[in-house]
């Protein structure tokens, strides 16, 4: 599994401190194109903050984020998403008082009807795009088995369904790469198997995935590559088998895992 292509995402020397406390001190790693990469590490390792820095939620204090051929460092999060790099959140952030259907349509890109006059008048372009988005949303619903809850408010969904909706919404953005923050946490085991199949299918469609996950039993068999973070910096990265046997990784996990019980 040698990577001849340039990486989809290259993160170099990323750092961020909050109130003098370094959350990420040196995040450097590559994510190969068209593959699934796992980002793991004990609690407080800085994984979610790394996502926040890549996705533009927070501006990094230093370092670089390169995505495909563009420099995304410090870009506003909506521009990062429009570049094709879309994230999900660890605690799903569905719009609770919008229906599942509207949650999906919301995320659709390039809808001219989102400008006031196009929307109010209902121009031909807006209506055509709306029909196309409805088709896409229909596909996403059936792909994620959410058709029966399409008309329900997202606030009424179960935790697992919210995770699926979060993924579905990200898919509506037509991403080239997804950053998934703990997609399996709180999801029923039967649904997890289903979800894993979906993720593999997405990879086969050519979408690059970077996944934060604590459930290593599910994650490790799924990924092509692992990145391990500890105390704000990258400890090791590479093929899962090699990384897993790295003594430093073992030590970090044994040191940190006690707190997780």
């Amino acid at each position: 599994m040698t990577e001849t292509n340039p990486p989809m995402l290259a993160v170099a020397g990323l750092r961020k401190a909050f109130g003098g406390l370094a959350a990420v001190s040196d995040a450097t790693f590559d994510v190969p194109r068209g593959r699934i990469t796992g980002l793991i590490g004990p609690n407080g390792a800085g994984k979610t903050t790394t996502f926040d820095l890549i996705s533009g939620r927070h501006r990094p204090d230093g370092g670089r984020v390169r995505f495909a051929d563009a420099d995304l460092t410090g870009l506003a999060s909506h521009l990062v998403a429009r570049a094709g790099l879309v994230r999900t959140f660890q605690i799903p952030r569905a719009f609770p008082r919008l229906t599942v259907w509207e949650n999906l349509l919301f995320a659709g890109a390039d809808q001219p009807g989102e400008s006031f006059w196009h929307g109010v008048i209902g121009t031909r372009a807006a209506r055509a795009r709306e029909r196309a988005l409805a088709d896409e949303a229909g596909d996403v619903l059936s792909f994620l088995d959410l058709e029966h809850v399409a008309d329900l408010p997202a606030g009424g969904l179960s935790g697992g369904q919210r995770k699926l909706l979060e993924l579905g919404r990200a898919l509506m953005c037509r991403p080239r790469m997804l950053l998934l923050d703990e997609p399996f946490a709180g999801v029923a085991p039967a649904l997890i198997r289903h979800l894993v199949e979906h993720l593999v299918e997405l990879r086969d469609q050519g979408i690059t995935l970077l996944i934060i996950e604590h459930d290593l039993g599910t994650l490790v068999p799924l990924v092509d590559r692992l990145v391990v973070m500890h105390l704000g910096s990258v400890l090791a990265s590479g093929e899962p088998a090699r990384v897993r046997d790295d003594p430093r990784v073992l030590e970090a996990y044994l040191g940190g895992i006690g707190g997780r019980g």
């Binding site: 909050f18 004990p42 609690n43 390792a45 800085g46 994984k47 903050t49 703990e182 946490a185 019980g261």
Partner: protein
């Protein structure tokens, strides 16, 4: 020279009154998480009860003490009946409710006493004279009382267990609850403390303005907000400094520029400050809370 010095004293006095009110407001914000638009009316209630009690024959000091206590009782009653049931619904319902409370209290006072100004029973002291410079005695005393109040708040926050738990609850209510603090009790105690401070603020406001109307507190609230915003919402020490700046700014503006656009000027400055530093002049710079990481049990 004379005008400069007097303006300085008036500025410190006004700043002191704003500081007292702003610290009270900011204490309650820290723990309850919403900006209380009904806070100005607590000042009004204190000023009017003090006025009524002196009319009934009480001396100013006992009347002020009783007025402050009554204000606190009103505030705790309002908090119990109106604010606490909404505690879990986020800040906006509380914000709206506090507006409703403001209108109810202000207009109950207006029903009771009419809209005309009433003379607040402040002592009529002759100014001190120091080598040809007049020092307004009342304003000096107001500033000193405000200073003592600030010192009391400082001691409470820094050197008592109660103050430390209040600060802990303010910085993170969920965390405070997890670590076994009785947040309900802390919220109650905070209401008492913040409303007692409001009571004192109302008395000082009445004394510094001379005349009181039912909307005296509501109109003053803008300056209090300004101080709290300038200092960083929820930051008592920032509010104190912000208040002094606003007080001096208002009095110097009135003395040297024009009284018409005092408030406008004060707020213009604040908006500029906020655009540059959303967390306030003395608050946490970026205004973003520290994000939580991991945390899945």
């Amino acid at each position: 020279m004379d005008v400069l010095f007097q303006t300085l004293v008036y500025g410190f006095a006004t700043g002191g009154v704003i500081a007292v009110a702003a610290v009270g407001l900011t204490l309650s914000f820290g723990v309850t998480g919403f900006i209380n638009f009904g806070y100005g009316e607590l000042l009004t209630v204190a000023a009017y009860t003090t006025y009524v009690l002196t009319e009934a024959g009480l001396g100013l000091l006992p009347a002020a003490a009783a007025g402050t206590a009554i204000t606190s009782a009103v505030a705790v009653g309002v908090a119990r009946t109106c604010y606490q049931p909404l505690a879990s619904r986020g800040p906006l319902p509380l914000l709206i409710t506090s507006i409703g409370v403001a209108f109810v209290l202000q207009n109950l006072v207006r029903i009771g006493f009419g809209g005309e100004p009433r003379g607040f029973p402040a002592p009529t002291w002759t100014p001190w004279q120091l080598g040809g410079v007049f020092i307004p005695k009342l304003q000096t005393v107001i500033f000193l009382v405000a200073g003592v109040c600030m010192l009391g708040v400082h001691l409470l926050l820094r050197h008592t267990l109660l103050g430390r738990t209040m600060r802990a609850a303010a910085s993170n209510e969920d965390l405070a609850r997890l670590s076994g603090l009785d947040t309900r009790r802390i919220v109650l105690v905070t209401w008492v403390a913040s409303s007692l401070i409001a009571g004192l603020g109302g008395v000082l406001l009445g004394a510094s303005q001379g005349d009181i109307t039912p909307s005296v507190g509501f109109e003053f609230l803008l300056l209090v907000f300004a101080a709290a915003l300038l200092g960083g919402i929820g930051q008592p020490y920032g509010a104190m400094l912000g208040a002094l700046l606003i007080g001096l700014g208002v009095e110097f503006g009135a003395a040297y520029v024009s009284a018409n656009y005092n408030y406008a000027l004060a707020f213009g400055v604040i908006v500029l400050v906020l655009l540059a530093r959303p967390g306030g002049l003395f608050g946490r710079g970026g205004g973003n809370a520290v994000p939580s990481e991991g945390g899945t049990p």
